[in-house]
């Protein structure tokens, strides 16, 4: 096994383990959010292995670094402790849900595996910020601007919600 394959399994295990830990820890909200961080960092590692370096860094900066910190910030502001939530009941539903998810995953993999694309040679500068920037501001400039419009609407909405009185 090459080093890259070994690293892939390490990161994949960490990602799945983090996701499972998040679901198992729903009552301990901060621990759940921190498990999510582990998943995010492991995903970033997998992106690096795929040579998508910029996406990997953005994954850590935006998802692990900013979004989950905001989650934790809100959880701490609300001061949610473990006893704020009742212990789980209706275990039957959990097991039914889990087996249903596993069945769907199995079907999904079965449907997807025959259509896997062949391994391709990666283009020069693949995954770097230059390539991404060029594509973003030439081929995809309209979706890019649309996204910024959406974000602007969200910011204006947040400001209006947070301000009691405008003017």
């Amino acid at each position: 096994m090459s080093v890259e394959a070994l690293l892939f399994y390490v990161f994949a295990l960490a990602a799945v383990g983090g996701a499972l830990a998040m679901v198992m820890n729903v009552r301990n909200t901060v621990a759940a959010a921190l498990s999510l961080v582990i998943t995010m960092i492991a995903l970033a590692g997998i992106y690096v292995l795929l040579h998508a370096h910029l996406i990997a860094v953005v994954q850590i900066m935006v998802y692990a670094g900013a979004i989950v910190v905001v989650f934790i910030f809100v959880v701490m502001l609300l001061n949610l402790r473990q006893d704020a939530f009742p212990p789980g009941r209706l275990r039957v539903f959990k097991w039914v849900g889990a087996s249903g998810a596993l069945w769907m995953l199995w079907r999904f993999l079965g449907a997807l595996t025959p259509h896997m694309p062949a391994v391709q040679e990666r283009a020069e500068g693949f995954g770097g910020y230059r390539q991404l920037g060029r594509v973003l501001f030439t081929d995809f400039v309209l979706p890019f601007e649309m996204t910024s419009l959406l974000l602007l609407a969200a910011i204006v909405g947040a400001v209006i919600l947070a301000k009691r009185r405008i003017g």
Binding site: V30, A31, L34, V37, I41, H53, L54, V57, V58, I60, M61, A64, G65, A66, V69, V70, I72, F73, M76, L77, N79, G128, Y129
Partner: protein, 384 residues
């Protein structure tokens, strides 16, 4: 190749973490003493030898290691242990992308004096910084103490806010140097530019008079992006949570903030992380704005070319390497001194002042800076 990387990592650990960081704690004490007209710490002695109080960092470490390690009742033990480790880890691994020397050729081998020469160098530091923020956030949450919790809340808000400004305030440098790779940035600064050259670029003069042509400055970020320099320094200092931005631990309001419940070496790790970050900040500022390892007015080609006839190629490269690494260390020392000067000059800001500074002053200014820089670069490219 693995040996080379190992040596680079060892060099960073020894110089950056094991030598610079403890010395910075000494500098902090001595500088505050000088600024407040005191003598400063000089009592620690080893067989009667005091060497200006330089033994105090060692005494600190011994004291911290032998102190009782208290975990408060009701604290989350795992998280309480993990938090200082995350904070210190983030500070130490930031060194990986900071170049402390250029590229030197010895026969067939080329040595690149940086541990990891990655294309997205500066983004790596931002990413590591955002992970290190978890150290402080978890610390307060895991301590089961309301003061700690308040400190963590403040830290979370402050660090998220200043990450935004920190990234945006160096966009001007990205535009000017055309790269995110720190080694390339330093290479771009390893030359001089004519201060009045812009008159030619804009076509206001046919050619600049010879006298003015002689006035040359090293092509450092601080001369090309003076506003960016000030804004970035402010943002990284706020990110480091040291005074005047130490509201997460503001002892006059919330005891000691996020590390109220920490003692012994666990507190020591938070303490160390801050001082290592001071060195990282100095290295980063040096690399982006002060020309890194480059010697002002003496580009690498000139040094090597001048020494080569007398000493031969290998020796010339070696001498150049030593001179430039020493230059880097000197610049880092100067930037540490600047940070200490600011830290002991300014009183702590209020929480709302810190937030106003970030969102109402630095953020609009940094966007304006990026806009103006982009416009000027486009104009020069279009005209030249």
């Amino acid at each position: 190749m693995p040996w080379e990387t190992l040596f680079k990592v060892l060099f960073i650990l020894i110089v950056g973490v094991a030598v610079f960081a403890p010395v910075v704690t000494w500098v902090e004490r001595k500088q505050s003493a000088v600024m407040q007209d005191r003598i400063g710490a000089n009592r620690a002695d080893l067989f009667g030898i005091r060497i200006l109080g330089l033994l105090h960092p060692a005494a600190d470490v011994i004291k911290l290691i032998f102190k009782e390690d208290v975990v408060p009742d009701g604290a989350n033990r795992t998280m309480h242990l993990l938090a200082p480790l995350i904070a210190a880890m983030g500070a130490i691994i930031s060194f990986a992308v900071i170049p402390y020397g250029g590229k030197y050729t010895f026969g067939d081998n080329t040595i690149n004096l940086v541990a990891a020469d990655v294309d997205w160098g500066i983004l790596y530091i931002f990413a590591v910084g955002s992970i290190a923020a978890y150290g402080t956030v978890i610390a307060g949450w895991a301590s089961n103490n309301n003061w700690s919790m308040l400190g963590s809340l403040r830290a979370a808000a402050q660090m998220i806010s200043y990450e935004v400004t920190m990234g945006l305030s160096v966009v001007g440098c990205f535009i000017v140097f055309g790269t995110l790779r720190l080694t390339d940035m330093v290479f771009a600064q390893d030359q001089t530019f004519r201060v009045f050259g812009f008159l030619e670029a804009f076509g206001w003069f046919e050619s600049v008079p010879a006298v003015l042509s002689w006035i040359q400055l090293p092509m450092w970020g601080v001369f090309l992006q003076p506003l960016g320099f000030i804004m970035f320094l402010t943002a990284v200092m706020a990110e480091n949570k040291r005074p005047p931005f130490d509201i997460p631990e503001g002892e006059s309001e919330i005891v000691a903030g996020y590390h109220t419940e920490y003692s012994g070496m666990r507190f020591g790790l938070f303490f160390m992380a801050e001082f290592i970050e001071v060195v990282v900040i100095a290295g980063l500022m040096t690399s982006i704005f002060l020309g890194g390892w480059s010697i002002p007015w003496l580009p690498t080609a000139t040094i090597v070319g001048g020494l080569e006839p007398a000493f031969g190629s290998g020796m010339a490269n070696l001498l150049c390497m030593v001179a430039q690494v020493l230059t880097f260390i000197l610049k880092v020392a100067i930037m540490i001194w600047v940070q200490m000067l600011l830290r002991w000059t300014l009183p702590r800001f209020r929480y709302d002042q810190v937030m106003d500074l970030c969102w109402k002053i630095l953020l609009p200014l940094s966007i304006l800076n990026a806009f103006v820089t982009g416009t000027i670069v486009l104009l020069i490219q279009g005209l030249g």
